[in-house]
Amino acid sequence: MLFRRAGLLAAGLFAFSATAFAADPIKVGVTIAQSPPGSVSQGTQVKDGLEVAAKMINDAGGVDGRKIELIFEDTQGIPEKARAAVEKLITRDQVVAVTGEHQSSAALAGIEVAHRYHIPYINTNGWSDVIREKGYPEVFNPGNYNSRVAIAVADTMKSLGAKNVVAFCENTDYGVGLAKLIGVQIGERAKDINYKYETLDRASKDFLPAILPLKANPPDVVVEIMLPPAAYILINQLNEQGVAPTKKTLIYDASGIADYPDFWKNVSDSAVGMLVFGLYHPKMPLPELGKKIAAAYVAKTKGDPNRLLFQAADSLYLIAEAIKVGKSTKPDDMIKALENIKWTGTRGEITFSHEKSGFKYHQWLDVPYVTFQITKVNEPVADMKLVQEPGKPLDPSKLEKTK
């Protein structure tokens, strides 16, 4: 610290240093994308969610009288940056836990550091199963996971009665990983569906060479496994070429991008008729905490609640709970507390599986999900049509046919 102070002085900006007096706040490290190529819209939603939750916790007297202090770092969605960020949060800011990560590739780099320093890491939204398969005791996953989506996609395709399914996935572990898993699940649950996937480079922006070959005979469903902004461009170009959405071909968004703040800024009628895999929908029943968070968020941002808001809030609350229950901010105590936690969060009761096999380890297994359909341009999420409710299969009769 000394050196840092000196440096700050030298840099002539000795504003205020975190390590002040009184009851030290509990520092929680947050890694999110705040600039491209990372998904900034996701990052912002996580940021809002965490800030809302932190405010609620602190207003309620904090954790054993200590306030929660969030320290944000920008990952740009780049693993290397994420690694450096977690390193910085742990070694420079001495945070008690790290959370907020919303991109698998970044999370996978981050957990390595958290594991090395043995600091609890709450994975807010990294879907990649690999994060779980590593089996790091420090890592807990209250968020969604790829196998969950893969199963959902397979089941949905089946209930849609699709024959040919093509997936476009981004060239990240998340994208390719999910695309492969869907193949696995379709193989297990709907053998007769013929499925293939194409990998797209996030950075490149002309996807036509990948789309045009589909024109000859379009598949029944195009599954889109990409993050914005690339996802938006893909959807627009699919529409431009008349591949999807059409009477014959549906677009199925497996990344849940429809509730992003810039969604309608970037797509037009090209998104109408799209099926969306959702982890949250306004018509979903929520526990008390969920309702409170949603209200606070609306008050804060005037925006509609979204899944990341809840996932972020859960992440932070879990850390707070762990400290309360474990009665300390020591990693071992917190980890122990988390392993045995049984706590009702924003969308249901969260427990972590101890099964050390594959994607199940330290995972909240029954994350609720829904499927809904976009019926018109600029439609707010609340009005999008819920075609599959938590725990129930999709009902094709509810689907709106595209023009």
Partner: protein, 296 residues
């Protein structure tokens, strides 16, 4: 009809490449340097178009010339502030000249990307379409109305520029300077002014190209990086400094990537051009070094 699809798409992309490459090529012709900030001219154009249309709510048809204007100004300013030393009073530079050009334009590109990222923000914006029709189908070919109009505008601009360079008063002076700077200056041509015009023109062209594509490749601060690399390839393939050459090369590259993406490998298609560039420099360097022997 896949082949036809790929051909058309390739050609259209090629036209947009050309719009950028011409400027780069002109700059090289007249200053014998590569402008590594060219992609950022494109990016600035895309933002100027999108933001002016979205924020001020003006028609895209006004936003387009506005973007052009911004590009022209940016090019002019850059030339005045940074490129002047290249040809005014730095005779003793030797190789430092090339180094200076690379360093400064490279730094400029990083500066522009990050300043826009901080000021405007990192979000993606979809530029407004020049025409509402989301899909026009001509026989087997489907194309968005915007892509079609944008391509037509691009072609018109390219032809206009070609004519200006070929026939206009300043166009000829520019040709003269790029053939022989010293000779031209001895012949009483204001080489400084010619350079300023070229840089400004290049900025304008890149900006227009960015504006036209803003509806297709929703701009982010780093949106210019890819097209810039493409235009380096093109300028080399087309023979550094040759406008017709770079136009042809643009179309070739566009088509090549379009087909290669399907028949060779989609994942690696962005490397094709770069490979060709290296192979070209490797096996046909004399194409680039026509004057080398004369140096002695």
């Amino acid at each position: 009809m896949l082949t036809l699809d790929l051909l058309i798409n390739g050609l259209i992309i090629g036209v947009f490449y050309a719009l950028m490459a011409i400027g780069l090529s002109l700059i090289f012709g007249i200053l014998k340097v590569v402008n590594f900030a060219h992609g950022e001219f494109y990016m600035v154009g895309a933002y100027a178009y999108t933001l002016s249309a979205l924020a001020l709510g003006i028609s895209p048809w006004i936003a387009l010339p506005f973007a052009l204007l911004v590009g022209l100004l940016l090019g002019l300013v850059v030339e005045r502030l940074l490129m002047r030393p290249l040809y005014s009073g730095y005779t003793s530079w030797g190789v430092m000249r090339d180094e200076y050009a690379v360093i400064v334009t490279f730094a400029l590109s990083i500066f522009l990307i990050n300043i826009v990222d901080k000021v405007v923000g990192p979000y993606a914006f979809k530029g407004p379409a020049l025409i509402g029709i989301s899909r026009i189908t001509i026989g087997p070919i489907a194309i968005s109305g915007h892509r079609l109009i944008a391509a037509i505008v691009a072609i018109v601009v390219i032809i206009a520029v070609a004519l200006i360079i070929r026939y206009s008063f300043w166009g000829r002076q520019i040709q003269a300077v790029s053939q022989n700077r010293l000779g031209a200056s001895l012949a009483g041509i204001d080489t400084a002014k010619a350079s300023a015009i070229v840089f400004s023109l290049a900025g304008g062209l890149a900006a227009v190209s960015g504006a036209l594509l803003a509806n297709i490749f929703n701009p982010t601060p780093d949106v210019g990086v890819f097209p810039a690399i493409k235009s380096y390839v093109i300028v080399v393939l087309g023979g550094m400094g040759s406008v017709p050459g770079s136009i042809v090369a643009s179309l070739v590259l566009g088509v090549l990537e379009s087909f290669g993406g399907v028949y060779i490998s989609y994942q690696y298609r962005d490397t094709f051009g770069l490979f060709i560039l290296i192979l070209f420099l490797l096996f046909r360097p004399q194409g680039l070094f026509g004057e080398k022997a004369r140096e002695v």
